[in-house]
Structure formats: structure tokens, C-alpha cells
């Protein structure tokens, strides 16, 4: 345990030091931490606070304000489904329902095998080819039941 958290701290300090002299460095630091660890480790928060000379409460406030930052790792894949109006107009709600059934999880849930986390997203800018989704950063347009089934199988391989 001790060594795991020391390792996190060492890697976190590296990221923090690289960015702390930028203007408004907090979001870039948090993005990079999440990029490195897959989530923002609690161990990093006091280190950020110290480096930026702000309170730990402020760091906590920022991390919890933004939807993107996680406090624990996601599944191996992350499937984001757009829930906004343009996608609703093309049957997005039905796709969301189907995705939850196929994967057996609700929004923000992760399948028990750790394969995939399902997240809502409000607009991917793919409103002229709705419904839209994003799988691990890859965009998907005109999502239908068939594509969704393919994805559900693919992520569990």
C-alpha cells in the first residue's frame, strides 16, 4: 500500500511540476493526472494544493465541480451516449435504454467484469448524424440497435 501511494505521489508531482507555472494551471493538471491514472487520485489533491498555494478544499471543489473528473478508475472502455435534444429527436432515448439493458448497468455504472463504463454526454456536436455516441474517444454517428449490439460485444472481448 505504502509503495503504491508513494508511486502515485511521485508521478503526480512530476505532472504538477511540469504545469504549475502556466497561467491557470489547475484544469490542465487535473486533465493530465486523469490521463496518467485514469482518474484523479485523492493522494494528488494535497500535492496540488501545496504547489499552487491554494487550499485543499479549493482543489476538492474544482475536482468535484466538473463532470469529467473521476475519483476512481473507469472500466476498460468508456461508452458515452448523447442524451441531448438532437439525439432525442432521432430516438436517442431508446438507444440509451437499449444500452443500459445490453450492458446491465445504469448511467455512470461499470459492468461487473470491469469492461465498460456507461456515461451520459450532452452533445458531441454530431447533431446532424444523430443519435451519437463516443467509445473511448472515437465518435460514432447514426447509432442504431445493430451498432449498439456490436459495441456491447466488442467491449467485452
Amino acid at each position: 500500500m505504502q509503495s503504491a501511494s508513494t508511486d502515485i505521489a511521485t508521478r503526480a508531482i512530476g505532472i504538477i511540476n511540469q504545469l504549475k507555472d502556466e497561467e491557470g494551471p489547475l484544469l490542465p493538471i487535473l486533465h493530465d493526472l486523469q490521463g496518467e491514472f485514469g482518474y484523479v487520485p485523492q493522494e494528488a489533491l494535497p500535492l496540488i494544493a501545496q504547489a499552487l498555494n491554494i487550499s485543499r478544499a479549493e482543489v476538492h471543489g474544482v475536482v468535484t465541480f466538473y463532470h469529467d473528473y473521476r475519483d476512481h478508475p473507469a472500466g476498460r472502455h468508456v461508452l458515452k451516449l448523447c442524451r441531448a435534444e438532437a439525439c432525442q429527436s432521432m430516438g436517442g432515448d431508446a438507444m440509451a435504454q437499449k444500452a443500459r439493458e445490453l450492458l446491465g448497468i445504469d448511467w455512470h455504472g461499470t459492468t461487473s467484469d470491469g469492461a465498460v463504463t456507461l456515461e451520459p454526454v450532452y452533445c458531441l456536436g454530431l447533431c446532424a448524424c444523430a443519435p451519437a455516441a463516443m467509445l473511448d474517444g472515437e465518435v460514432i454517428g447514426r447509432l442504431d440497435a445493430e451498432k449498439l449490439e456490436e459495441i456491447a460485444t466488442e467491449v467485452r472481448l
Binding site: H67, E85, G125, A128, A130, E138
Partner: protein, 518 residues
Amino acid sequence: MTITFFVPRDSGSLALGAEKVARKLQDEIVARNLDARIVRNGSRGMYWLEPMVEVETPSGRVAYGPVKPSDIASLLDTGMLEGGTHPLSLGLTDQLPFLAKQTRLTFARCGITDPVSLDDYRAHDGLKGLEKALALTPLEIVTQVTESGLRGRGGAGFPTGIKWKTVLDTAGERKYIVCNADEGDSGTFADRMIMEGDPFVLIEGMTIAGIAVGATKGYIYTRSEYPHAIAVMNEALAVARKAGVLGTSVLGSVHAFDIEVRVGAGAYVCGEETALLESLEGRRGIVRAKPPLPAHKGLFGKPTVINNVISLSSVPVILDKGPAFYKNFGMGRSRGTIPLQIAGNVRYGGLFETAFGLTLGEIVDDIGGGTATGRPVKAVQIGGPLGAYFPRELFDTPFDYEAFAARDGLIGHAGLVVFDDSVDMLKQARFAMEFCAVESCGKCTPCRIGSTRGVEVVDRLAANIEPEKQIKVLTDLCNTMKFGSLCALGGFTPYPVMSALTHFPEDFRPAPVAEAAE
């Protein structure tokens, strides 16, 4: 002669399989030993045809679409290299009616050039606006922008030139240009298309703004949901720095200017300008009270121009062709062109840049071709999740800031989401409240609490619990949110709710339970 193919790298095209098409085409080029290259352009904005592949021929660019990887071999077999015919042939791209009917000023190059080739950009009139700006005084630049009549394309419609003048007149040892690229409204994708399809025009516009007001640093604040736009923007910035468009001496002048991309973290409210500034500074995206205006005390308390992507990207053509040229397009106080984003349940969805003044009906029926499902259009939401739902009875409304305001709507960022007759407007009203509750920054009570109470009231309405009373409460609640909220999130959520209630009352009154038959 080397043949040039174009396969878009726009997110919309990628979402429909453009990457696999490009890879297959590249494989075939190698296998057939063709003297050909593939340019990864932006999208022309016709998403029902994406992935749309083009080939350069002596008579112009010829388009094919929508292309699947399995179509590539047959396309090449039937003479695609010479623009030959094929079931997927669309003819000369420029003559496609959807494109031919547009007035592309801001999007003049989008989908045509290689987005990260500065040579391409220059060859298509790029940097002319900046070159002209460098020969003018700051005040002359600002005056030209003011005279063009350009208003904020993010939605607020505030005159861009006046904003710039305020920053120019405010003393400060450091000033900033902030580009609001936090395009979170459903139904909008113009900012994304510019960043992915013609990033240099945004760089040029921001640089002109910097020179005009005396700022040396610019930030583009965009969304984490836009990874491709971020990548193209960063590529283009590196090219611009290397070529001396950005840096300590912009195009060899005495002006210094540089730009950095910053990425948000999934908070819709950060599209509100003061919340955006807070976020850039590294804080929670909480809305600031105004005054002070960002023009006086903006980013890090310094005078700041904060403009939308499309506003800034419209500046180069204004400087290049003159304010009168730009102002000649449009109607009333809405001058110039507006990139309409036609989306949702629509047959021909995409980006259509045109002068202000088309009616909503012309946009939805004639350009959009009605619904994708073929059912009747029931409602169109204009201006994103905070925009009003308009019924067919209001289709004569011209696309103009004031005309929409006069009918209790807004044009916002010019996104239009079309719904067919299967939509339940009570559900849409509930969603508007729910979205506001999820995304509220929490600073002001009408937005934070009002939205949650709004969801509850709509739910009671749906359950037919004292419906008359609920409608009264909902109307009153909307009134409080509209006039009591600090920013447009709480202040405009009443637009979709009240428009749904006003124009589609039948959806809010469940059919009376049928009396038991005698």
C-alpha cells in the same frame, strides 16, 4: 499528374466511417500503383452525404457519397479518377444545390482546403484580413468591425466592435483574447466544423483582435467532447507559430501574439462567458456577477475580449473585403451571414451559411427537406437547450435576432433541431428543467432550486395531479427563473419550457380518462 482525393477528417464524417474509407482508399492507391494523394479536408457540411469523397478533375471537384469502404474498388473501377459516373456520383461539388444556394463568407474554405496547410490557406485568400489589419491603427480595425454590424454569434448578439472598443479604451499592461469554443448547445456544431475544417481562420481572427485591442495572448477554451477539434487546432497552432503568423512578431510586424488551447471538463455552464473565465483561471465554473464586465476586468482581472468562434472567424473576411461588403448581407439589425446548423430529425442535415432573413419554414422545409423519418414536423427548437420550441404556425418567422425575440424565442448559436410528430412536448419541457438542474453552477437560487422544482412540477403535471394548478406554478416558476437568474442558463431555461406549454398545450393535458361505458 498527381490525382488529389479528399476524404474529410471532420468528426461528423469520422463518426460515419471516414477513417476506414481513407484507409481503404490509400490501400487501393498503393495496390493499383496510382499517382494519387489523399487530403484530409474538413466537411462541406452535408452530413447526409458523409463520408463524402471528392476527386480533383480539370473541370472541378467531383463528389461521391455517402461512401463505404466496400465502395472504393468499384468507384476506382468505374473511372473515379476522371470524375466518372457511379451510383454514388453527386456531380461537381460546387453545383450541389445545398452548397450552391449558400453564401459562404466565414466558411469560405471549410471543406475545401487542407485544414493544417498554411499554403492552402494563403492560396484561398487566407491572411489577407490580417495583412490589411497590420496596416491599420487599432482604432481603425475596431471601427471596421463595428461598421460591419457583426454581432456575437455565440447567442447574445452583442455588437462585436463595441466590445472590442471597450477593451481598446481600457488601460492594462496585459490584455487577453478569449475564444469561447465551449459549444455545448445541442444542435450546434459550427464551432467544431471551423476548428476541424479551417482552424487558421480562427487563428487569424483572434490575432486581428489581439492587434486591435493590444492583447498579446489568446486562449481558445473548448470542450473535452471535441477531441478531434482540439487535435486539429493544436496542429494548426504549431504550423502558425513556425511560419511566424503567431509569435513575437506577427507576420514580421511589431505585434506579438500567441494562442493556447484550453480544454474544459464537461460543464455546460462554462459556455457562459464569466464561468468560462473562472474555469480558465482554474476554479469551479461559477458565474460571476456583472459588472465588472470582462472587457474591464476579465481573465485574471485583466481587460479581456471574449468572443465566440464564429464571431472571431468572421473578422478576417470583414477586414479583407471591407465592412460594407459584409454589412450588405442580412436584414434589419442582423447583418452579414449566419451559419445555420440544421440538425436532429431532418432529411438534409448540415451547415448552411446564408444571409440573415430566411424564414424558419424555408430553412426547415426547403433546405432541410423536412424530417428524416418522413413524418410531419411538429416542432423545431432553435438556439440550443435554452431556445424555444416553435410550431409550424411560426414558420414565417425570419431568421433575425429581433424577429425571434419578438416571438419569445432566440436564435442563439443558430442551431435548429427538428422533431417529428412523435415528440412529446411535456417530456421536452421536463428535459429542459432536468438539464438545467444537472448543469446549474449553483450560484443563484432561481436556477439551482427552480430547475429541480420545475422537474417536480412537470412530473405532477404528467401524473395529472391538479393540472391547472401545476401549469400556474410552472408559469410562475419560469417567470422567477427568467428574471431572477444570474445568467442565461437559469434565465433562458423558461424559453423551451414556456414555448412547449404555450404552443403545444395538448401535450400538457393528458387525455381525460374515458368514462366507463354504460
